[in-house]
């Protein structure tokens, strides 16, 4: 038959195929008058069509079924393989058949594996030989061992290996109702076997429970290196063009394996994760794709399986043992979720980078230590740590050990590979918060007193970070974190240079308009606040806030943080009118958002500060009281944050002249701060100063002076000589000198204070007013009235412009100006100033405050001299 004739026959066939039988012949006869043989051919086709084609209709699978014999029906040229005689079929796979063999002399058993249809392709022979080589290379008690190997005369290769009489891992656990820790220990053994293979540069690539047998004595054996891959190098990645074509078991195959991407040791880590999932839940993480799914499963999107903890609750495969501790607690389940899902992360970069890392976390879990894989919230890590260390640990070492752990954690992870989630900003943020949390004490009632030691450890962390040039993003994260630690430790120079480096790196990496850059700008601005470089601080923070607002949603923590920082710098500048609404926003956003209560506490406390500086004492006290109860509930009574709020409340009491209350609050705070920070910390210095101030007003000068000299020494060392904290200490010393009528000493102190404030703030700051007012007081004390009057007028002007005409400080300056004018016998002017000051004071302050008493006394003198006895009588 030729093509033309075949075309005609087909046309006839299609014309009649679906006609009733009796019409077919008729139609064909009529159509083929010229060539009846055409009609015959077409009719034969119609008959064949009706009869069907058994081979084709059965499908290729049945054809294969008939062509390929069953393993136990497969003829073999011999029954002897080395020392072993085969007795029965153990199993068959795509590659070959495994028989049970027995040694005649010893009777010992072994598994004999034979490559079936070796003729088919060199690739198969190569793969079989490769499995044999791999087994020969792997010599480990948890891996089935190779005994012998050779080739039959017909070219069929075979090898003999250890026969493992066991059952698959999952079946074993089900049959023995193995507890969760028991399952984890078996799983750990599997990991150790795989780890051994990886150290020999072998990836298994087909890990699944049926390849992991457990003997009745609980010994694990890893089998079937049939598609194992020998890595060419230690980088742990195999070339995908060499990927074996054998179908891996889809349920355990890593996404990169399914897609035909590069496989590596991380591919085995994925399969181990799936096995762990199955051990914990009795279920596979994903529905196994149907074989007819047309390869769509190969392109399955990255997705997270349901958390093992959730599935395990449903499936209840874990024995409900009565032994306490054998059922995981809620937090333990959270760990197991992280452990398992990290191992089987869709993205190889996010998995445990090695089986070693996986084993470490299994061990961490089993001994109740924090996991390395945890995307750790501060509370989580600390919770774990504290649970393990309920017995008191020497305070100083707590912080130090944690620092070692964190720095080691960072650098180990970073140095380990160009991998992992650390480069992720969110995660770094958490780590950072945790790290910084160390210095704020968390659950410990004592803190890193050994600051030097901690600094040394952080220094080491910085050295490690420097070596990570190839990882600029991670390096920048690390610099930012370590910069934050230095800032907390008061090492502002180092904080500055690291934070600046982080900012530069991030700008270079990401460009100027990115949240990462915003974060670094705000961080650097915050260091600048501590350095009292407020113009720079405000510039940086505003820049950061603007980038954050452009790149993040308005309620994003990044925006909230930047807003808080701006509020803080404005407050530091004395611009309370602008700072308060910003800080109000921060409190509101925090209360609306899902932030820990302690963060709400922090924002309340910042807002309280602004109100305090603005002279809104009741508002400030009420905010601080809320913050205090939040901190006490979260941290207990001996936490440094509790001390911080106590100090703020003390300051407020002090300002209103309630000195005994101020003293008492400051003393409570000092106990906590000295225990936590140690005697030479800047926070302790601040606390000492506050206490001293209260003591001064209670006329306990010697005690106060001693405390203040301690504080000054700490501050000069920590902050350098030109710093507001140094200035405020000097101010206290000046006040004491003044009270003791040591005017020269007082003048020297107040001048130094004024110089410092001028250098930092310029002329327009209330502290300039305060310093000027104090300096004026020394002139007044020395009876140098004209200088005093001029200085007080300057002070009133500055205070009234910066803090407002109604502010306590303005009032006090006016009363003092009034006293000066009185001494100068300018009675009317004196009366005006004193009266104005007095009227402000009585509205706000405790009537016993010395300034009110002084004002009343002066008013009496003034009115008397002015001949207004009736007015004078009001103030007697």
């Amino acid at each position: 038959m030729d093509a033309i004739r075949w075309e005609r026959v087909q046309r006839l066939f299609h014309a009649v195929a679906d006609l009733p039988h009796d019409e077919q012949s008729e139609f064909l006869a009529a159509e083929c008058l010229d060539d009846p043989s055409l009609a015959a051919d077409a009719l034969a086709l119609v008959v064949a069509d009706a009869r069907g084609n058994p081979v084709i209709d059965d499908g290729v699978a049945r054809a294969a079924g008939r062509v390929f014999a069953r393993a136990d029906a497969q003829p073999l040229p011999t029954e002897r393989f080395g020392q072993y005689r085969i007795t029965r079929v153990l199993g068959e796979g795509g590659m070959g058949v495994v028989y049970l063999g027995q040694r005649d002399d010893l009777g010992s058993l072994a598994a004999v594996k034979i490559l079936r249809d070796a003729w088919l392709s060199p690739a198969r022979r190569e793969r079989f030989a490769s499995e044999q080589r791999t087994l020969a290379q792997l010599n480990h008690p948890l891996i089935a061992q190779l005994y012998d190997a050779n080739t039959l005369p017909d070219g069929t290769p075979w090898f003999v290996m250890e026969y493992v009489e066991g059952i698959p891992l999952t079946d074993y656990c089900a049959a023995h109702s193995t507890s969760l820790p028991g399952r984890l220990r078996l799983f750990r053994d599997v990991c150790v076997a795989v780890q051994h293979a990886h150290r020999q540069l072998v990836i298994h690539r087909d890990l699944k429970p049926s390849n992991i047998l457990v003997r009745s004595d609980g010994t694990v054996k890893l089998l079937d290196f049939g598609i194992a891959k020998q890595l060419e190098s230690v980088d742990g990645v195999a070339d995908q063009t060499r990927t074996g074509m054998r179908l891996m078991t889809p349920a355990y195959a890593a996404p990169e394996q399914v897609r035909g991407g590069r496989v590596g040791t991380y591919t085995d880590v994925y399969a181990l994760g799936v096995i762990l999932y199955e051990l914990m839940t009795g279920r596979l993480p994903f529905a196994v794709p149907n074989e007819s799914s047309d390869g769509a499963d190969a392109l399955r999107p990255a997705r997270e399986p349901p958390r093992p903890s959730v599935v395990a609750r449903e499936t209840k495969v874990l024995p409900n043992a009565a032994i306490p501790g054998s059922t995981p607690s809620k937090s333990e389940w959270a760990d197991l979720d992280v452990l398992c899902l990290t191992a089987m992360h869709q993205d190889p970069q996010r998995r445990y980078s090695t089986v070693d890392a996986l084993i470490r976390d299994v061990d961490h879990y089993l001994s109740g230590e924090p996991l390395e894989a945890r995307p750790d919230s501060a509370r989580y890590r600390l919770g774990k740590f504290v649970r393990r260390n309920r017995e008191a640990v020497v305070a100083a070492s707590v912080g130090a050990i944690l620092i070692v752990a964190v720095v080691a954690f960072y650098t180990a992870r970073l140095a380990g590979a160009r991998n992992d989630a650390l480069s992720e900003a969110a995660r770094v943020e958490r780590i950072q918060r945790f790290t910084l949390g160390l210095f704020e004490g968390q659950d410990k009632d004592a803190g890193p007193a050994d600051t030097m030691r901690v600094v040394a450890l952080v220094d080491r962390g910085v050295d490690n970070a420097r070596s990570l040039d190839a990882e600029p993003a991670v390096q920048a994260d690390l610099y930012l974190t370590l910069g934050g630690i230095y800032q907390k430790l008061g090492r502002l120079d180092r904080a500055d240079s690291l934070t600046r480096l982080a900012l530069e790196r991030r700008r270079a990496l990401f460009g100027p308009s990115r949240p990462e850059v915003a974060e670094a700008l705000v961080a650097l601005g915050s260091v600048r606040i501590d350095q009292a470089k407020l113009d720079e601080a405000e510039g940086l923070i505003r820049q950061g806030l603007s980038v954050a607002r452009q790149t993040l949603p308005s309620t994003d923590p990044g925006v909230v943080k930047a807003t808080a920082a701006l509020g803080r710098v404005l407050q530091e500048r004395g611009d309370y009118a602008q700072a308060i609404p910003l800080l109000d926003d921060v409190v509101r956003l925090n209360e609306a958002g899902h932030v820990p209560p302690t963060e709400i506490g922090a924002s309340l406390s910042a807002l309280a500060d602004a109100h305090y500086y603005a002279g809104h004492y009741p508002a400030s006290d009420s905010l601080n009281t809320r913050a205090l109860s939040i901190y006490r509930a979260a941290y207990g009574d001996r936490h440094p944050l509790v001390a911080h709020v106590l100090m703020n409340l003390s300051a407020s009491q002090f300002d209103r002249g309630n000195y005994p209350q101020a003293e008492q609050l400051a003393r409570q705070a000092l106990v906590i701060n000295t225990a936590f920070y140690g005697a030479a910390h800047f926070t302790t210095a601040q606390n000492l100063t506050m206490l001293a101030r209260a003591l001064v007003f209670e006329n306990r000068f010697d005690e106060a002076t001693g405390l203040l000299h301690q504080a000054l020494a700490i501050r000069e060392r920590v902050y350098g000589p030109v710093n507001p904290n140094v200035a405020s200490t000097v101010n206290e010393l000046g006040n004491i000198a003044y009270q003791r009528d040591h005017y020269d000493e007082a003048e020297r102190d107040f001048r130094r204070m004024l110089d410092i404030y001028r250098a930092i703030y310029g002329e327009k700051h209330y502290l300039i007013g305060v310093a000027t007012s104090n300096l004026a007081s020394t002139y007044l004390g020395r009876k140098d009235y004209p200088r005093a009057e001029q200085a007080f007028r300057d002070a009133v002007r500055v205070l009234s412009a910066t803090q407002g005409p109604e502010h306590l400080n303005t009032a006090i300056a006016r009363i003092k100006l009034g006293r000066t004018l009185l001494r100068e016998r300018k009675f009317a002017a004196a009366r005006d100033e004193t009266l104005a000051g007095y009227q402000i004071l009585v509205k706000q302050a405790n009537p016993s405050i010395s300034f009110i008493t002084a004002a009343k006394k002066d008013l009496v003198a003034e009115y008397d001299t002015l001949g207004l006895a009736a007015e004078a009588r009001k103030y007697r």
Binding site: V55, I56, G59, A61, A64, G65, D72, P77, D117, L247
Partner: protein, 194 residues
């Protein structure tokens, strides 16, 4: 068994030996799997080996030689591989039954299956060759649909004809092959026994 596929009618070179070798191995293992599933009475055995072909494509496309082929082209190659592996196995099975092999050990003689399956397949192979001489397009159609389980739509795209043409061609070819196999099978057996 030749190590390369006969691809002379594909109008292109596809000669990455390693990739082809892998394709053979995979094909063999898939057919083994299908065979075992059939013997177990597993209903999935009635499914075509489409998944294998898709998967093989995904894996082999990274090979520079394979990358130049389109997915459909590749599926044709996979179909050819399926056919050649199966036919070669049938040839060996046929030879065994006729005393070609030196079998001394089998664990269960009763399990020996009739060789008729192998013979039918060899007849189909011959008939397909004959069809290719008359109408290559239809031979390609049968090879793609029967051995690799390609969908009608894919075959239509491959052959650049409509789906209804594919269905008509298939029906006619299936009937023609049945006649051809019945006519020539006995002759073939005689000749291969010589």
């Amino acid at each position: 068994m030749p190590h390369g596929l006969d691809l002379s009618d594909f109008g292109t070179t596809f000669d990455d030996t390693r990739a082809l070798d892998e394709l053979f191995s995979a094909t063999y293992e898939e057919l083994r799997r299908l065979a075992a599933a059939v013997r177990r009475g597993d209903p999935s055995a009635t499914l075509s080996p489409t998944a294998l072909v898709n998967e093989a494509w995904l894996k082999l496309r990274e090979s520079p030689r394979v990358a130049s082929a389109t997915p459909v082209h590749f599926k044709r190659i996979a179909a050819r591989a399926m056919r050649q592996v199966l036919i070669e196995a049938a040839r060996r099975r046929h030879a065994d039954k006729r005393g070609g092999g030196a079998a001394v050990v089998t664990f269960d003689e009763s399990l020996h299956e009739p060789a008729s399956g192998a013979d039918d397949l060899l007849a189909l192979d011959d008939a397909l060759d004959a069809l290719a001489r008359i109408q290559p397009r239809q031979a390609t159609l049968v090879e793609s649909r029967f051995f690799a389980g390609l969908e009608v739509g894919e075959i239509a795209a491959l052959l650049q004809v409509s789906e209804s043409t594919v269905l008509r061609d298939w029906r006619a070819a299936r009937a023609w092959l049945a006649n051809e196999m019945r006519e020539h099978a006995p002759r073939r057996r005689e000749s291969s026994g010589a």
